[in-house]
């Protein structure tokens, strides 16, 4: 866009020196391991390393389970976020804290707690096993459960924040126009928080994709059934460093591609 008339260009104030330096350090801190990974990657052997049956299985399993886990996080997390944000009830703060626990729990501990609840002798798991013969540990469903457990808090936080920030008058206006609560939620609230919902779902998905500790502890490790990409990397590490790095690069590549392509649109507010 050219302008012949002197339209003054906005001069940004220069970034304070300290801020710039620290930001560069932060970038280096985050970027160097990734650069190291890319440099150590066996680019020549990539295709053969990544097309082994085990690698392809791990990739397929990871994508399927992480997407299912993110979906589960949305289906269960959205109503929960709505309840916490919109309704006052005794113990609300405790519930909010509870939801955030998977964030601070070491993933392996998370896996252990899942066993106590859903394992064969677990609180709920024992009935699933004794009455229906359903065994969640060592199953793909168990992987989805473990991944959803660690991913859900991301969805809930993002959505709860969005719900708090939208003007309550839109929902009030909808109610005065005769809309029942479910219609208000669907036609007014949800579209207004859509960008944050998508961002939350993406974060949840990325977290689910990278989950290791809870998966291996709760769901176990078996190719094709429960051996997701992170578990495959761990197993490969003991045998072939090249294979481990190759798989890591794939993991990195998928996440990076999706996050970068959508980040601008959905985390920066509505277009």
């Amino acid at each position: 866009m050219t302008s012949t008339t002197a339209e003054p260009r906005r001069r940004q104030a220069p970034a304070p020196g300290v801020v710039l330096v620290l930001a560069i350090v932060a970038l280096a801190f985050l970027g160097l391991p990734l650069i190291g990974l890319l440099l150590a990657a066996p680019w020549g052997q990539m295709t053969e390393l990544l097309t082994t049956p085990a690698a392809l299985e791990a990739l397929r399993l990871s994508l399927v389970t992480s997407i299912l886990a993110a979906a589960l996080a949305v289906v269960l997390g959205l109503p929960l976020a709505w309840l916490i944000a919109r309704r006052e009830f005794p113990g609300r703060n405790i519930v909010r804290g509870l939801v955030l626990i998977p964030l601070v729990l070491p993933p392996v501990v998370g896996g252990v707690t899942l066993l106590t609840a859903f394992g064969r002798r677990g609180l709920v798991g024992q009935y699933l096993f004794d009455w229906f013969g359903i065994q969640l540990p060592f199953s793909t469903a168990g992987v989805v459960l473990a991944e959803a457990f660690v991913a859900m808090p991301f969805l809930v936080i993002t959505v709860e924040g969005a719900l708090r920030s939208i003007d309550p008058r839109f929902e009030e206006a909808a109610r005065t126009l005769g809309a029942k609560p479910s219609r208000v939620l669907l036609r007014v609230t949800a579209p207004l928080i859509a960008p944050s919902l998508v961002a939350g779902a993406l974060l949840a998905w990325a977290r689910a994709l990278g989950e290791f500790g809870a998966t291996i502890t709760f769901a176990g490790n078996f190719p094709g059934v429960t051996q997701t990409l992170p578990l495959a990397v761990y197993s490969a590490l003991e045998v072939s460093r090249e294979e481990a790095i190759a798989l890591s690069v794939v993991l990195l590549g998928i996440s990076f591609a999706v996050l970068v392509s959508l980040r601008g649109r959905f985390l920066g507010g509505r277009g």
């Binding site: 008058r169 009030e172 909808a174 809309a179 029942k180």
Partner: protein, 347 residues
């Protein structure tokens, strides 16, 4: 449908206790300062808030009665609301906004289309709220509320979001539309002009209580509270009248023309009725006194000069007069006020 409401709410230390009615076809303005409780009145009638005590009836349906355990939520009351900032759904077009009500309640969308036409915004049907001007938004918000054919229309500060120029124009159009609307309208405002132009009746709400109500003409001519008087620009004095002389509370006396009234009274003095002089004036004015200037304030093309009492009064003169007479803070002047220019009413 008429609405009859006895509204009692207690929030913290603030208690609202007011009775409001509105007949079909009537436009009632709820006038009062900020914090008086006007929005609460609106929200309780709309069903967005519940009463602590009292009763609200729309038509013959009781919609809120805490004592009887009755509460009809907002979505089931046929009460239309136009919010102060309009709250138009930004993710829907104008048409979708206006049709939202009928579609939510299963009513035909013909009413929606009708109101879009009547309010002159049909050509904007495919635009989105961020693309509309203030005046256009207001009309779309009104169309949206009316599209559900509500039994009562509530408007919260309908013109506050508009700039001064637009406000004048929109006020005129709004008056016209409200006159056509068959049901009752209750509008909340702090701007006296809105009340005077748009309403048939005015209810004055101050600090949670109704301090005055009556037809627009009555209330405008005889404000009974300091707030209202100040709002309308007149000085209000209280005192006791005896044989044509009012002894003011706080000191001072005024000679008035009405000799029949004899009791506690409210005396209203328009600032424009007071003349200022350099020396004791001659003439028929029955009230002349020597005083000092305690304040000067420019208001539009007039200057309001505050005069020391008792009783303290405000005179409105031209800037030229201020210059001519050398009126400054603390200056000594003579003031005169005709007895016939003071309106006196029983308190």
């Amino acid at each position: 449908m008429s609405v009859s409401a006895r509204i009692v709410t207690r929030v913290g230390s603030f208690t609202l206790d007011a009775s409001i009615t509105c007949a079909p076809g009537e436009t009632v303005a709820l006038l009062g300062p900020n914090g008086a409780g006007k929005s609460t009145v609106l929200r309780t009638i709309a069903g967005l808030q519940s009463l602590s005590a009292g009763c609200i009836t729309v038509g013959d349906t009781v919609v809120d009665d805490p004592a009887a355990g009755v509460f009809v939520p907002a979505e089931r009351r046929r009460v239309g609301v136009v919010f102060q900032d309009y709250a138009l759904f930004p993710h829907m077009t104008v048409r979708e906004n206006v049709e939202f009500g009928p579609r939510s309640t299963g009513l035909p969308v013909t009413a929606a289309r009708h109101w879009l036409e009547v309010l002159g915004v049909a050509h904007l049907a495919d635009r989105r709220p961020p693309q509309l001007s203030g005046g256009q938004s207001q009309r779309v918000a009104l169309a949206r509320a009316l599209a559900t054919e509500p039994h009562l229309l509530l408007m919260d500060e309908p013109l506050a979001a508009l700039d001064a120029a637009t406000r004048m124009e929109v006020r005129g159009h709004l008056r016209h539309h409200l006159a056509e609307y068959r049901q009752g309208t209750l509008l909340v405002t702090h701007d006296p002009l809105d009340a005077l132009v748009l309403a048939d009746r005015i209810v004055v709400l101050e600090d949670g209580r109704v301090t005055q109500e009556g037809t627009t003409a009555q209330v405008a001519a005889q404000p009974r509270t300091d707030y209202l008087a100040a709002l309308l620009g007149v000085t209000l004095l209280r005192g006791r009248a005896t044989g044509g002389v009012v002894a003011c509370e706080g000191g001072g006396r005024l000679v008035v023309s009405d000799t029949t009234v004899s009791e506690e009274v409210i005396a209203l003095v328009r600032p424009q009725a007071i003349s200022l002089h350099r020396e004791r004036p001659e003439g028929s004015a029955r009230n002349t006194w020597h005083t000092t200037v305690t304040g000067l304030e420019v208001q539009g093309d007039q200057v309001r000069v505050s005069l020391a009492g008792p009783p303290p009064l405000v005179a409105a003169v031209t800037p030229a007069a201020v210059a001519d007479l050398g009126i400054t803070l603390g200056a000594e002047v003579w003031a005169s006020l005709k007895a016939t220019d003071i309106s006196v009413h029983p308190a």
